[in-house]
């Protein structure tokens, strides 16, 4: 008598890897904490900054556009995307789960692709919803001072643009996680790249400095997530996002090349 029931089932494919990664992502608590943090920070800070700045923005002294404030929280929410993207893989390396994962799905590229897809979809949805909640909350205060913004044109683009930015950022962070295989290292590297190095790049003088500033991922990427950027020197929304996607693709390619060669 067999102790195991022999089952016949078809060969697993890409879709099965995607389903498994989806189950993995939502069966750990860190995912929920990170997503809640994105929503609370992203929408909450936008509402807060609009509530406190609306009067000034409506006055004659204002030298910034209300459009720069309506997605203000989306300057902080990317931290959540960085953390979620990195954790999706570095906790596997940290716990040893990765050996189980690659023994189960030896096609390693499939694991990378499945994780990237699940992350991108989740972060796109959460990013867009977060921006919309922030818009509703922030615009309430802008409206009271007569400077409310209609949900159309660049404002509307900034809503799903927030989702698009977080999606690509999460995938870049995932790829960095595959490369460095360590949670703290991956998150520090990404935060330094996006928030510190990109922010310091205007210090480089001359035309070369201008271009480095424009092309830095932390500058090129987020332009899609705001109707009016605080920094007038940056690339326009879709060009910037295109540059950011290309940069993400390069990091993913490096991660994939290393993944194929390395021992687990």
């Amino acid at each position: 008598m067999s102790i195991l029931t022999l089952t016949e089932s078809p060969s697993p494919g890409w879709l099965d890897a995607v389903r498994a990664e989806h189950q993995k992502m939502f069966s750990v608590r860190s995912t929920w904490w990170t997503l809640v943090a994105i929503v609370v920070l992203g929408a909450g800070l936008t509402t807060l900054i609009c509530a406190t700045s609306a009067e000034w923005l409506a006055s004659a002294e204002a030298d910034e556009a209300p459009g720069s404030f309506i997605t203000w929280g989306m300057m902080i929410a990317p931290v959540g995307a960085v953390v979620l993207g990195a954790l999706a893989i570095t906790t596997e390396y940290g716990s040893g789960q990765i050996r189980s994962t690659f023994a189960t799905t030896p096609a390693r590229g499939r694991v990378l692709a499945a994780k990237a897809l699940v992350l991108a979809v989740v972060l796109f949805l959460v990013g867009t919803v977060t921006a919309l909640i922030g818009y509703v909350g922030g615009n309430h205060f802008l409206d009271r001072h007569g400077i409310g913004l209609a949900l159309e044109g660049d404002v509307l683009r900034a809503m799903y643009g927030s989702g698009l930015y977080l999606a690509a950022l999460g995938v870049m962070s995932l790829a960095v996680g595959f490369i460095v295989r360590h949670t703290a290292a991956a998150i520090s590297l990404m935060l330094a790249l996006i928030f510190v190095v990109s922010g310091m790049s205007p210090l480089i003088p001359g035309r070369v400095g201008d271009w480095i500033e424009k092309l830095m991922p932390g500058n090129a990427g987020p332009s899609i997530a705001t109707p009016v950027d605080f920094n007038p020197n940056l690339l326009d929304a879709w060009t910037g996002y295109g540059v950011f996607l290309a940069e993400t693709a390069i990091v993913v390619a490096v991660a994939w090349a290393l993944l194929r060669r390395r021992d687990v």
């Binding site: 067999s2 102790i3 195991l4 029931t5 022999l6 089952t7 089932s9 078809p10 060969s11 697993p12 494919g13 099965d16 890897a17 389903r19 498994a20 189950q23 993995k24 069966s27 750990v28 608590r29 860190s30 906790t91 596997e92 716990s95 040893g96 789960q97 990765i98 050996r99 189980s100 690659f102 023994a103 189960t104 799905t105 030896p106 096609a107 060669r261 021992d263 687990v264």
Partner: protein
Amino acid sequence: MIEAHSLTKHYGDAVAVAGIDMVVEPGRVTGFLGPNGAGKSTTMRMILGLDRPTSGRVTVNGRRYVDSPAPLREVGALLDAHAVHPGRTARQHLRQLATSNRLDPRRVDEVLDLVGLTEVADKRAGKFSLGMGQRLGIAAALIGDPAVVVLDEPVNGLDPEGIRWVRSLARRLADEGRTVFISSHLMSEMALMADHLVVIGRGRILADCSMDRFMAEHAASSVVVRTPEPGAAAAALREAELEREGDVLVVRGLDAAQVGDLLFIAGVRVHELTTRRASLEDAFMTLTADAVQFHATARTPEEVPA
């Protein structure tokens, strides 16, 4: 069936596996025995495609594991009881494994029941004891109902009841015609579990034979004779292999009855006649003595640096 051909793995300058050839046959339990650092885990990781061989190859059922169309149904492996995210429950861990290989989701409950973890199925794996972790790892190895089962040190951390359970499980899996490949650094454990033995030391195969043959070859018995007339006894037993230590003779190649009869015929007085059987553990130690990576060296006090 697992086949390795000149399988070699270097980590930098260190040679972990030095060109091994072996065939692990289905229908029997093959023990993979060696001291720590002998290359057991590296070999198992190469079988599963986790480590890439420096040269040579290893195949499972005739093809590289990474080329398997249905990995979990081909090979089930326990490589490391901790290869589980501590935040997931046992059920969640097994469910995502089943999903990734498009297995029937009912397999999750079946293997939980098989390893006796049903009651703690919704507990986080991070809270599991070492023994429960081993059981979860074995559940994961069996979820795809694989023809080949690879278990790296499965009895680590198990209590005596658990050890006996692994032993009978291995036996049943082999009796069902599966290939069962189990590593251990404990000879005593292998002696009870394995039909066939592959001994590895410093990355080389030291022995590859049936358990019975290994015992016959390496655990040879001897007969100890204590006599006040060792000279006369030695003469009477000259056909056998002899070792003399004062009034004690150690005789190999004859059993106690033969020795007793020969000494009786020669009229030699005997004060003690004992059969001494070398333990398998001794045999294993002797075989791998030169192959142990980390020797504990005893120093006399004078040699200890001040």
